[in-house]
């Protein structure tokens, strides 16, 4: 008993030391913005649509979604404590004021905005891009700038803000929007469908391999504002694209709501790789402030031999509710989900995936690595469903939890529904702790405790980090360590 106490004290000390690091993207940009009044009603939905000068079909879509949402209740099945959200206290549209609207050249962008994205490590200047990444930079409710649009257009690739797609490619938007995540899907999907303001649109035509990584960087800046963006990626037959998503927000004592939708369609032989590094403001050490992150991400492997791969590194947000999923419709299609979710202090995460096997010979892989520290709670929730005709379907799931300290929680909720007897579903799960002996071993070789934890955690998450594109992987490694600083033992 006594011995346990001694070790607990050590753990506390280490935990304390490691969790002191501050969120480094917490600054606010001082820029004039145009916001509508707080609150949500049908007029607000109409106003958003009007501000964006949308065609009629969009307004109808929004209104249907809004009316549907009004009849819904917030879901409570997740292993999360979500304080009541007052939708009348949120601003649903806020845009940095800009001289001109629509697509613009670099010179037309407010220097303050440019500086903000520079500070976040995102250059809006194409000249400065060596690594070949095209960026759609979104702040609050609007897209600020999309780079490399013209050179991509030469290949027939459409990469632009969602608003622009609505104006320039309404037929594509009409055809695909809501085809994977209908507005009836869930509470937050309905809300997003009613009030979403911007996001990215990406279309890779038949036979084209996108030569650069496409990325969207989401930044919340304005206070009391919700961010509701929508991303739609369509890969036609034999197309390929790798897509990256990053996000940050200022440090504030009030919680802010983020409810997004991502839809992916992969046609025959197409491959879409979607990577996220989610680093919204997580709140302070005592659990004050932070983003409520309710996201619906889903891909449809519509064609034969298509493949959709989700990789996520989740370190931010006070609350995360997110299940990037794959509908494996085409025969021989493949779905993958690789996830590292870190929670520290008072963060809560309920995240995982759904793999729905419908086509024959469909394959899915799930690798989830949860890391919990401080007083946080981290849950994996996954569904593997094999429908009657999905002959020869295969799934492999591996869910590991790593605990730092003994005041945090790790939970696993795997759901398996198999209606086809020729399929194989495998599930493995482990829970481990960072040992004080592992840390001491590193210390004894000259490695400080903080760095030791970074090393151990990155080792633990390696299988997932290896799936990230190079530039992202390095960032993600640092982020993992920073997220756990001041929190680990």
């Amino acid at each position: 008993m006594q011995l346990c106490k001694v070790m607990e004290k050590d753990q506390d000390k280490i935990l304390h030391e490691v969790t002191q690091n501050e969120y480094k993207y917490g600054f606010v940009t001082d820029i004039e913005s145009e916001s509508i009044a707080k609150g949500l009603n049908e007029d607000v939905v109409r106003l958003i649509s009007q501000k964006k000068n949308e065609p009629e079909f969009m307004l109808e879509f929004r209104l249907k979604a809004f009316r549907y949402w009004q009849k819904m209740k917030m879901p409570t099945w997740a292993h999360l404590k979500v304080p009541e959200i007052n939708y009348q206290d949120i601003i649903f549209y806020s845009a940095p004021k800009q001289k001109i609207s629509g697509p613009k050249s670099l010179d037309d962008i407010d220097p303050e905005l440019k500086a903000t994205f520079d500070k976040l490590g995102i250059s809006l200047d194409e000249q400065k891009h060596l690594s070949g990444i095209a960026v759609d930079a979104v702040m609050d409710s609007i897209s600020v700038k999309t780079t490399f649009k013209e050179s991509l257009a030469d290949l027939g690739i459409i990469f632009c803000s969602f608003s622009e797609a609505v104006q320039e490619h309404p037929d594509l938007v009409k055809k695909y929007m809501g085809s994977v995540v209908p507005y009836t899907d869930n509470y937050f999907a309905a809300l997003n469908s009613a009030v979403f303001s911007d996001g990215s649109f990406c279309f890779i035509p038949k036979g084209v391999r996108c030569p650069m990584e496409l990325s969207t960087y989401f930044r919340i800046n304005a206070a009391n504002t919700g961010q509701f963006e929508r991303t739609l990626i369509v890969a036609e037959d034999d197309a390929y694209v790798s897509y990256l998503e990053g996000c940050t927000a200022p440090r504030r004592d009030e919680n802010q709501l983020h409810a997004a939708i991502v839809e992916i369609i992969a046609n025959k032989n197409a491959y879409v790789k979607y990577s996220t590094v989610q680093n919204w403001y997580p709140g302070d050490k005592n659990g004050l402030g932070g983003i409520y992150n309710f996201v619906t991400k889903r891909g449809k492997c519509a064609g034969e031999n298509s493949k959709i791969s989700w990789t996520q590194v989740e370190t931010g947000s006070a609350i995360t509710w997110k299940y990037p999923s794959c509908i494996l419709l085409g025969d021989n299609s493949v779905g993958e989900f690789y996830s590292v979710a870190v929670t520290n202090n008072h963060q809560q995460a309920d995240t995982g995936t759904k793999m729905i096997h419908i086509g024959k010979n469909t394959k899915s892989t799930i690798v989830s690595k949860g890391i919990s520290a401080g007083f946080s709670n981290n849950s994996y929730r996954g569904l593997v469903k094999v429908t009657k005709n999905a002959t020869n379907a295969r799934n492999y799931s591996q869910c590991d939890s790593l605990l730092l300290g003994d005041k945090c929680g790790a939970h696993t909720f795997p759901y398996i529904e198999v209606d086809n007897k020729d399929s194989i579903v495998e599930h493995e799960a482990t829970t481990s702790k960072i040992g004080e002996d592992q840390i001491f071993y590193c210390n004894q070789r000259g490695i400080k405790t903080e760095d030791a934890i970074g090393l151990i955690v990155n080792g633990y998450a390696k299988e997932v980090l290896n799936k990230l594109p190079m530039e992202f992987a390095v960032e993600a490694q640092k982020l993992l360590q920073i997220s756990l600083e001041g929190s680990v033992g």
Binding site: Q2, V6, F440, Y441, Q444, R445, G446, G459
Partner: protein, 250 residues
């Protein structure tokens, strides 16, 4: 180099070290022997700075520093190396990455630039040869799935990489077959200089056939009850510890 005076340490109120005195000078090899549970590993841990143990009395001076004031990583960077009796596994962290991090942290502590990748790899290749370490072992995760012998060899390899001033080897010979024993001992001998020193903790006299100690100490019940030259090891091999224990009891 190292001076231990009347060192007492306990864990959870239970006294384990009960007044240790030991002087180690540059160029010396000290062997510490003694029955199981007498406090050999505890002494090694306390010197390395493991805070599981509380020092209640005594003083340890190392190269002019008050050793007990330094953190474990500072001690490491100041040249103290502990070869663990039970090396720890760190899944997913490759030996290369581990050693590179360790070496560069120690260099940073000394105000040196990190080694370039090519210099590091060259250094590693040399040391691997020295301890006859299997090439692919360094690409694997730290100690994960290593055999008992590989783990021990890996400790010596790390010692060779970090070039400590004072190496404390805790039963590095246990569980080794005779070939591995020779390799480990060889590594230790090759790394010996007039400037560094080692404390070799062992159960068996046979290691001391390969590593010739200048002094042999017997640790029993938290105290050094007898010290002598290398002949003491032979005496222990022959007579066991009982004759010494009796001496203590009386």
């Amino acid at each position: 180099m190292l001076s231990i005076k009347n060192l007492h340490a306990n864990i959870d109120g239970k006294e384990i070290l009960k007044g240790i005195n030991l002087e180690v000078k540059e160029g010396e090899v000290h062997a510490i022997m003694g029955p199981n549970g007498s406090g050999k590993s505890t002494l090694a841990s306390v010197l390395a700075g493991r805070d599981l143990f509380t020092v209640t009395e005594g003083k340890v001076t190392y190269l002019g520093h008050d050793l007990l004031e330094l953190s474990p990583e500072e001690r490491a960077s100041e040249g103290i190396f502990l070869g663990f009796q039970y090396p720890i596994e760190i899944p997913g962290v490759s030996m290369v990455n581990f050693m590179k991090t360790a070496l560069n942290e120690q260099r940073k502590h000394k105000g040196l630039e990190p080694l370039s990748s090519s210099d590091f790899l060259k250094h590693m290749r040399e040391k691997k040869e020295l301890v006859e370490l299997d090439t692919n072992l360094t690409n694997r995760s730290v100690n994960e799935g290593f055999s008992g012998g590989e783990k021990k060899k890996n400790e010596i390899f790390q010692m060779a990489m970090l070039e400590p001033k004072l190496a404390i080897l805790d039963e590095t010979d246990s569980g080794l077959d005779i070939d591995a024993l020779r390799i480990v001992a060889n590594g230790v001998n090759k790394l010996k200089t007039p400037k560094n020193a080692s404390i070799v903790i062992t159960h068996y006299q046979r290691l001391l056939d390969y590593i010739i100690p200048d002094y042999v100490h017997v640790l029993y019940d938290g105290k050094i009850i007898k010290s002598g030259g290398k002949e003491l090891a032979f005496e222990l091999e022959e007579k066991g510890y009982d004759w010494l224990k009796k001496g203590v009891a009386v």
